[in-house]
Each structure stands twice: as C-alpha cells, then as structure tokens.
C-alpha cells in the first residue's frame, strides 16, 4: 500500500507494509542507510530520527503511524544550523571511533540543542543517555555538544 511521507524536506511515496518499522523502510526500501540498526527494541538509540523535530526510535515507529509527520534523518541533519555545528564539532574533536552509533547520537544531540541551546551536564545526560556508544566515546560526545553550543 503506497504511503506518502515527508522525508528530509521532500514528498516521498513508499510502497510498504504499514506495520513495517520506519527504520527498515528507510534502510531496506528507500536505501537510506545512515540510520542504523543496533537492537530493534529501543535500547540503543542507533536508529534515532526526528519526527516533527522530536527524536524518536525508528525501530519502534511503524510506517503507518507516521502520517503527515515530517521525518528528518542523519542524511539531512546538515540542513539545520544546529545540525551543521554539531557535525563540525564531532569532526573537530574527532569524536567517532567506529562511528556506527554516531548518527543516532547526533540526532539526539540536535534535538537537545534546539530546545536547550546551552545544556549543562545533567541536561546532556538526560538527553543522551538513551544512546549507546559501544566504543564509549562519551567524554568526547559531551565535549562536542558543549563546543557546538557555543559555536
């Protein structure tokens, strides 16, 4: 059944099962592989995307529930000034090790900075603690969020 989506600022029609999680629609149907699969049960945050600006776990978001919601993925993060600043800080501070979780980290961080432009450590903890980094780059993620906040 064709579903109309607003994805990264564009109208997209996708023919997929309404029960299919957005994660797999993005990755396997649309070929947008920047959003990552880590656990499938909203434990790791690797699949974080924005739905109407709010961070959601794409693995727990059925396609049929998206409706007219605007979806933003890592591939379009650079279109927002906050997203661009975060990406630059991530590169400048050499945050990634393997890099697999970082799309989800950045999407969570972008939502945080939009609502709270100068987050303290407690706010960073609260916003980011749903995102696993198996390489444990947490010290640098924290520093990069702070750097982006003052950039």
């Amino acid at each position: 059944m064709p579903t109309k989506l607003t994805l990264n600022g564009k109208a997209v029609t996708v023919d997929a099962d309404p029960e299919m999680p957005l994660l797999w629609v993005l990755r396997d149907v649309l070929g947008l592989t920047g959003t990552k699969y880590g656990c499938g049960v909203a434990q790791c945050g690797a699949c974080t995307v924005h739905l109407d600006g709010q961070p959601v776990r794409a693995c727990q978001t059925p396609l049929g529930s998206v409706g007219k919601g605007r979806i933003t993925t890592i591939e379009a993060l650079a279109t927002s000034p906050v997203g661009r600043k975060l990406q630059d800080a991530w590169v400048a501070l050499d945050v990634p090790q393997c890099g697999y979780c970082q799309a989800g980290q950045l999407m969570s961080a972008a939502a945080l900075l939009r609502d709270n432009p100068r987050p303290d450590d407690a706010a960073i903890d609260a916003a980011m603690t749903g995102n696993y980094c198996r390489c444990a780059t947490y010290n640098r993620i924290r520093a990069a969020i702070k750097q982006a906040a003052v950039a």
Partner: protein, 722 residues
C-alpha cells in the same frame, strides 16, 4: 617483539597513466609484472592527487588514519591533500591484514615510514635529474621538491612521471626523518572517515546495497553444536515478503557454518518477522546440558586442590606457604561475556559464475576466505573480499562464520544476499569471552613481602588444550616476581565456541591478579601503591630482551607512579568513597589506572573519575585517536565490570538483547584523564592494553570505600548495601 621491517621486502615502483607514479612493497624475488599488479601503497597522480592505501581493517581503532599518517609524514606532503583508499583483502599483496593483538603499529611503524620515504627519495632523484643537481642539495616540504640555491621548486605531480622510470631505493638504507621534524605524526588528526560518519554516508558492512539484492536471516539451534533434525518450511515460505527458505546442513561447526534454516525476503524485517512461522525440530547437541551454574558449582569443589595442568612452577610454594607469617586465601571468578558491537554480524555476498564476492565487516579476512572456499568447494582465488568499515570489533569479527553463512546462502538463493544477524542472533550465538575461576593463596613473610603464590585456575578446554582465549600464560604477573609460585589448571569441557575479546584473557586476569594483590597489601598493612612498587622491585627487564613476554619493571613502575600522581593518591575522601589503583602489562603496553568511586547506601556504585597512565613507547602516532582508544577501553572495562554477564542454561544463552546485557551509558560514564609516559622503546598498539588495569582499580576503590572485597564480576551491588 620488535620486528617491523622485513628486510626481504623490496620497494617497487612504476608509472601510472596520466603522468603519475606508484610505489609499493613486494617480497624479494617477485617478478616486476607481478609486483606492479600488487600493492601501490602510494600513488602520485600527474594531476596532483596523492593516494595512500590503507590495508588493515578499520574497526574503530583508527588504523585507517594512523598508518597512512606514517606514510604521509615521510613522503613529506600536507595531510589535507592526501586521499586514503581502503585496500581489498589480499594477504599475498599486503601481508598481514588483521585487526587483532594490537599489532599494526608494532609491525608497521618502521616499514610504512620507509614506504613514504622511498617514494620521496624517488621524487627527489627525479628532481635532481631534471635540474642536473645533486640530490643532496634538494629539500622537500608540502608535496614539493626545492632547490634552495637556485630558488627553484616543483610539485611532486610534475616529477612523478620521471620518478616512475628510476630504480627504487634500497628499503633498508633509506634515511628517515628525525622525529623532532615530524609535521603529521604526533599531531592530533581527526579520523579520515569522520565527515562521512557524521553525515550518514554508506560506510559500514550493513550499509551495503547491491542491484537485485535480497535480505536473509539465518536461524540456528538455540544451543551451540546443535543442528536441524527436521523443518517444516511451508508456513515460513508463505509469510509476507518471503522469497524462499531452506535448510543449511552446515560445514565445519559453529566456528564456520552451523546448521540452520535460511529465510530470504524483501527486507530484513520481513525475513526476521517470518521466523515466527518456522517449525524446526532441533537436535540440541552435546552442549544441551551445560550451564553457567553447573560450571561454577564444579569449580567451587576444586577450591582446595591443584589442577592436573602445570602452568607455572618456581621455588617451592607449599614450603613457603608453610613458613609464611600470614596466609591469604581467596577465590575469584568472572563470567562469559559477549562482544556486543553495535553493528550486528552481517555480510553481503554475490555469487556469479562460481566466483564469490563478499562485502564483509571483518577484522580477519583471510580465515574467512579459507572457510568460504572450504564450505563452497571453490578455490580461494575465486573469492574477492571487500573489507567494510566495522561498527565495532572488540575481537568479535576475528570470527568469520557470518562470512561463510552469507556466501553459502547467496549461492543457494541464486541472488545477491545481505545476511543480517538480529541483535538476538548476535547475543545468543556469539563467540564467548571465556569465564573463569581462580583459587588463590599467597603467603607473606613477617615484613609483608609476598613469598608464595598459588593459583588453581579452572578454565575451559579439552584435556591439556585450552578453549580459544581461555589460556593463562605462564608469565602472567606476578610470575617471575614472586620466588615461590605454583600455578595449575583444570579444564571444563565447553560446547560453546569462545573468542578473543579486547585484551583477551588479560581483561580478566588484570581483575584477578591486581584484586588479590590489593588484598595482600591490606593484609600486610601496606599502602596499596607502595606494596605494588615493592612487588615490582627495582627497574629492570625480567625475561629475555626482545621477547613479547619480557617484563620491564621500570616501565610498570613509571606508569603506576604517574597515575598515582595524576589522581592525587593518598588524599582523604568522604565516607563510602575511595581510590583504587592497579597496573597491568599486555600487548606490549604498560598501563595503570586509578579509579575514584563512591558507593551509595543501596550499594549503587558511582565512578567519579578515572586517571590512566600508559607507556606504549617513544611515539604516539595520533594523540587524538590514542586518547580516544584509552578512554574507550577504560569505560568499556567499567561497563563490563558493573553490569555484564552472559550465562548459559541448558546449553543456551539466557541474555538476548541489551536490556539483559547493558552497556555503559552517558550518565554513568565518568571523565577519563589519560597521560602517556614516553619511553625509549618502539611504538606499540593501543586498542587493548588500556583495558585490564581498570576493573581491578574499580574493585579496589570499592574496597577502599566500603571494606567489602569484590571477588566476582560483574559487581553484585547487593553485597555493598549499608
């Protein structure tokens, strides 16, 4: 192990279309034609492009940045102008292509500098010929050759065509830069793929997309060693989005191709959902009766015995214990662990006309090639392996079974297939970090000196043969530092396959040895730092110079002292807070950690900060990546110590996802302060040796805070309640 340069290798060079040159390394005796087809480690394009090939697997250890830095340094080019290209797997061309054992820096620091220096020497020779001046009168910088006397200069691109016609220099006689002149090595350089990472570009194995590709899942027996007895596949074949399902008989067991059922579908989600419709009768195999509780119960019965396997014996431990002023006895244990990299195991395979092409996130491509060749009955030369960036390795992707599965399933399916393990597959069919049990007893003399050490190590294996990564090495500290030692072993048979997890074996032995040494320090009434200094004794090399297991007491003491100073060792802390210290040597690196921890009334442990000092030789190649590796190792160690265990019951793993096997989260990750002690030794690797000193520093801090000695991981906070 020093190593580095294989003097039987030759520099080979040739022309690249468009007025460029390439330069590579070839085994002595390789024909020129063969050499040319080989490995252009460096390409200088006539168009000004400079390409350096990265030949090792990238798993987050930063090798795709740090090794090319060495080449670029000696080539004398601006880092910003260099393009890095990932090599295919080909051990004939590139030699060792393994992310394991923290060996890449150790083995390649010298050789890859010589590759860069060789290319530079050829370009200088070309300029000397061009201008009719001696090569000695020329200098280089920023990808140009200069003749200061005449104020002439040319870019490498203008010299490359001529350089390609000149004989390459002898690799052994090249003059390398004085490290004080380094412009790239020793500077913090951001990872070469970071921009792609932060913009979500396809990079990882799981991101592979091929025309006509389908998605596969592979259902295996819940118990290791089990196999399909029978399966009714009618319902699964009728499930939504499913294109096929078939039984895989298996080949070579759980390390290669287990028996199971493959489901092919239009998406991973369809394939994974369809598993609910599977009706499989399993033959559960010989491991079906095995459980973690059973292993622990059996190990407990061995507490007052010695094992049949002699691991270390020196002096007379029994006699020394007999005359000791004080005896301390304790049993330590640690569980199986999963690697749990965030990108689950996966591999994409395409089989065309009998030839196999694999897109594999792998740490270890060549064993994968062998196993695929064996399972499919094809020559190894018919297999091409693209080494994809790995979403974490930690040793898991030294295993190669997912490569064999993908190749076999793709051939049977007749279409290109991306095989994806679900998180549940990944956790329940892992290669386990072996658990283990240590029954220890030590004796102190009247001065508090350790005069006897006995350990009965209950491990996993078969007879005298350890399971993979389950070995206690004869020289594990404090062997050679205590006069009377008796270390013995007993094996328990284990059906589950085991594997190498970051700092294999050491990741557990650090906890056991440095935890027990802390107990001895307290029994002796000594300061834990001073007690360790005394145990190490004066600065000296223990063991044979140049041997991988030789132990430099001076290097160990230096990192211990450095970490202690950084942490302000000895300072007074509030109630239920404490500092713990430990050191460990592994993978040629010396590390010490100090942990500051506090314990709440309910037993919850909070780590305030960790200070780490490490010695991996005279040069840190990329300080940015290096600190990241150590911080990651330390936090990894905290995460596993605080909450991770894989348990077997009736032969099956009980944990299936992160809810039951939690990783450390942001809110629980303390700052980690890292310092490197530079010593005059060849540079060595950093992916692993930063791990082992941290679990014991943590339990030692908990003891300082509470007086409760933690002897089993993960930490049971119930024991720490007020």
């Amino acid at each position: 192990m020093s190593a580095a340069l294989n003097r039987r290798q030759l520099l080979v060079a040739g022309a690249v279309a468009g007025g460029g040159m390439w330069l590579g390394l070839a085994p002595a005796g390789a024909a020129m034609a063969e050499a040319q087809a080989l490995n252009p480690w460096v390409r200088i394009g006539g168009d000004g492009s400079i390409t350096i090939v990265s030949h090792n697997p990238e798993i987050g250890q930063g090798i795709k940045t740090s090794i090319p830095m060495l080449v670029a340094e000696e080539l004398d080019v601006d880092w910003a102008t260099v393009r890095i290209e990932q090599a295919l797997a080909n051990s004939k061309v590139y030699g060792r292509q393994v992310a394991g054992g923290s060996m890449a820096t150790t083995l390649q620091y010298d050789a890859l500098r010589r590759v860069g220096a060789g290319a530079r020497a050829l370009l200088v020779a070309a300029a000397a010929a061009e201008w009719g001046v001696p090569a000695g009168a020329l200098t280089t910088a920023g990808g140009r050759v200069f003749h200061p006397e005449t104020a002439r200069n040319l870019p490498y691109s203008a010299l490359a065509a001529r350089a390609a016609t000149l004989p390459p220099p002898d690799i052994a006689t090249l003059v390398l830069k004085n490290p004080k002149d380094f412009k790239i090595v020793g500077k913090p350089i951001s990872g070469v793929d970071n921009r792609k990472v932060v913009t979500g570009q396809p990079l990882f194995g799981l991101d592979t997309m091929l025309p006509g590709m389908k998605f596969a899942v592979f259902e295996k027996c819940p118990t290791y060693g089990g196999k399909v007895a029978s399966a009714d596949l009618a319902a699964v074949k009728a499930a939504k989005g499913v294109r096929g399902a078939f039984i895989v008989p298996g080949h070579g067991g759980d390390y290669e191709l287990a028996s199971g059922v493959a489901i092919i579908a239009d998406s991973f989600w369809h394939a994974n959902q369809a598993r609910a419709a599977l009706a499989v009768q399993w033959d559960r195999g010989v491991g079906a009766g095995q459980s973690s509780a059973g292993f622990a119960a059996h190990a407990a019965t061995l507490a007052d015995t010695q094992g049949p396997k002699i691991i270390t014996e020196s002096g007379d431990a029994a006699a020394a214990l007999g005359r000791a002023a004080k005896r301390v006895k304790a049993s330590y244990s640690y569980p199986f662990l999963a690697h749990a990299p965030l990108e689950p195991m996966n591999c994409t395979a395409r089989v065309t006309g009998g030839k196999v092409e694999l897109w594999a996130p792998t740490q270890n491509p060549e064993p994968g090639r062998k196993a695929v060749a064996s399972a499919l009955g094809i020559p190894e030369t018919d297999i091409t392996i693209h080494m994809m960036r790995c979403g974490g390795g930690f040793g898991r992707r030294l295993g190669i079974e997912y490569m064999v599965e993908a190749a076999w399933i793709a051939r049977a399916a007749g279409v290109p297939v991306k095989l994806v393990w679900s998180r549940e597959d990944d956790m329940t069919r892992g290669l386990l970090r072996p658990g283990g049990f240590h029954h220890l007893e030590a004796g102190l003399d009247a001065d508090g000196k350790v005069i006897a050490w006995r350990n009965h190590f209950v491990s996993y294996g078969d007879g005298e043969k350890y399971a993979r990564a389950a070995e206690l090495d004869a020289t594990q500290f404090p062997a050679r530092f205590v006069e009377n030692m008796a270390v013995s072993g007993t094996m328990q048979a284990l059906a589950a396959p085991t594997g190498y997890l970051r700092a294999p074996a050491n990741n557990a032995f650090g906890f056991v040895m440095q935890g027990f040494i802390d107990e001895l320090a307290h029994a002796a009434g000594a300061d834990p730092l001073q007690f360790r200094r005394d145990l190490l004794g004066p600065a000296r090399l223990v063991g044979e110079p140049g041997k991988r297991d030789s132990y430099d007491a001076g290097r160990a003491r230096a990192v211990l002292d450095k970490a202690a100073v950084m942490a302000g060792w000895g300072r007074k802390l509030p109630a239920r807070s404490g500092l713990g210290i430990a050191f460990h040597f592994s993978h040629l690196g010396y590390f010490a950690s100090v942990v500051e921890a506090s314990v709440a009334a309910d037993g919850a442990v909070k780590v305030a900060k960790v200070w780490v000092a490490g010695d991996v030789g005279r040069q840190i190649v990329n300080p940015s990546g290096a600190i990241n590796q150590v911080q990651g190792s330390v936090l990894d160690a905290l995460g596993s110590s605080l909450g991770q265990a894989i348990t077997l019951k009736d032969g099956a793993i009980e944990q299936s996802n992160y809810d039951a096997y939690p990783l450390l989260r942001m809110a629980d990750a303390p700052p980690v302060e890292v310092a490197f002690v530079l010593s005059d030794h060849n540079p060595t690797g950093l992916g692993e040796p930063g791990y082992p000193a941290t679990p014991p520093a943590l339990v030692n801090a908990i003891f300082a805070a509470t007086g409760v000695r933690v002897r089993s991981l993960p930490i049971d906070t119930g024991l720490l309640k007020v």
